[in-house]
Symmetry: C2
Subunit: 170 residues, 2 copies
């Protein structure tokens, strides 16, 4: 296990800045401003944004596109090697992506804005948090580290018109 | 809304028989024996089995492959037209697929075997049922009709060596 596995390192900060920059760039060109990056130690394996504008496929979330593209690579890694991977997302992964990340054998996820930062449009489920899903995962729980550069993540939601005015009290 | 929307019709029985036959055929050729079929009224739009053996992609569940392949078609349907669709699965959809089905705008799902019929290997989450996920879906709940030709679905799980010896009491 790497140092800093359960905490945020300078590599994480760099990877998240890259992820958020990519989400902003996607927005600039009229695409959905949600991005995901897959790294192994300090190497970027893949980086993509939500492809809905391009494919009209509602399940083409950034995380799903990256997992699909890297599937063959991932299938060849040992459990130990998979511990060197981190998936970064500009927004807390939804229910679907959480389950997909688990199926793919990833162990560590770092995200910026929380789902609760966004309007209902960005959430797939009410009253069922990623943390609850994470605790229920048969092959989990994943190491889930949220709120990294959260303000920048929230700004992207605001640019998309999807920032919740106030985080609900419950 | 069609007649029989909340109950099982003869068309459903026919579609499920077709889905289960396809799952068995996939098993016969050494693939994963889980299949999904998408219909619009009494027309089959797509039919596929879990593609893990072919692609080594752990998220290539039968439902996901069908949703992805039909994404452009689905994106052109109105909400009313989407009510003419049914997704059939030989096995109760997992967390990931439930969320994906909801994102894709489908409203009605019919499945054969329950996740609880299978070993832990076929479930992505413990203590979190499809019904609970369904109730939480922001764009849900879906009409979820399970246990159709369940014995045939259980037999396929048995062929895969994934039938749970007994359904847990809890």
């Amino acid at each position: 296990m790497q140092p800093g596995y359960n905490s945020i390192s300078s590599v994480d900060e760099k990877m998240m800045a890259r992820t958020l920059a990519y989400a902003n760039a996607a927005l600039d060109k009229g695409s959905v401003g949600i991005a995901a990056l897959l790294s192994r130690r300090d190497e970027i394996l893949d980086l993509e944004h939500n492809q809905f504008q391009e494919t009209r496929d509602a399940i083409d979330h950034a995380e799903m596109v990256v997992l699909r593209r890297m599937a063959r690579y991932l299938s060849q890694l040992s459990e130990e090697e998979k511990r060197e991977l981190t998936l970064y997302s500009s927004l807390e992964p939804c229910l679907m992506c959480m389950a997909a990340i688990s199926f793919a054998g990833l162990k560590r996820v770092v995200f910026s804005a929380y789902n609760a930062d966004g309007t209902d449009e960005v959430t797939v489920a009410r009253g069922l948090t990623s943390e609850q899903v994470n605790q229920a995962l048969t092959r989990g729980p994943l190491t889930l580290l949220g709120g990294v550069q959260r303000e920048e993540g929230r700004e992207i939601l605001a640019r998309m018109g999807k920032l919740r005015a106030s985080v609900p009290a419950d």
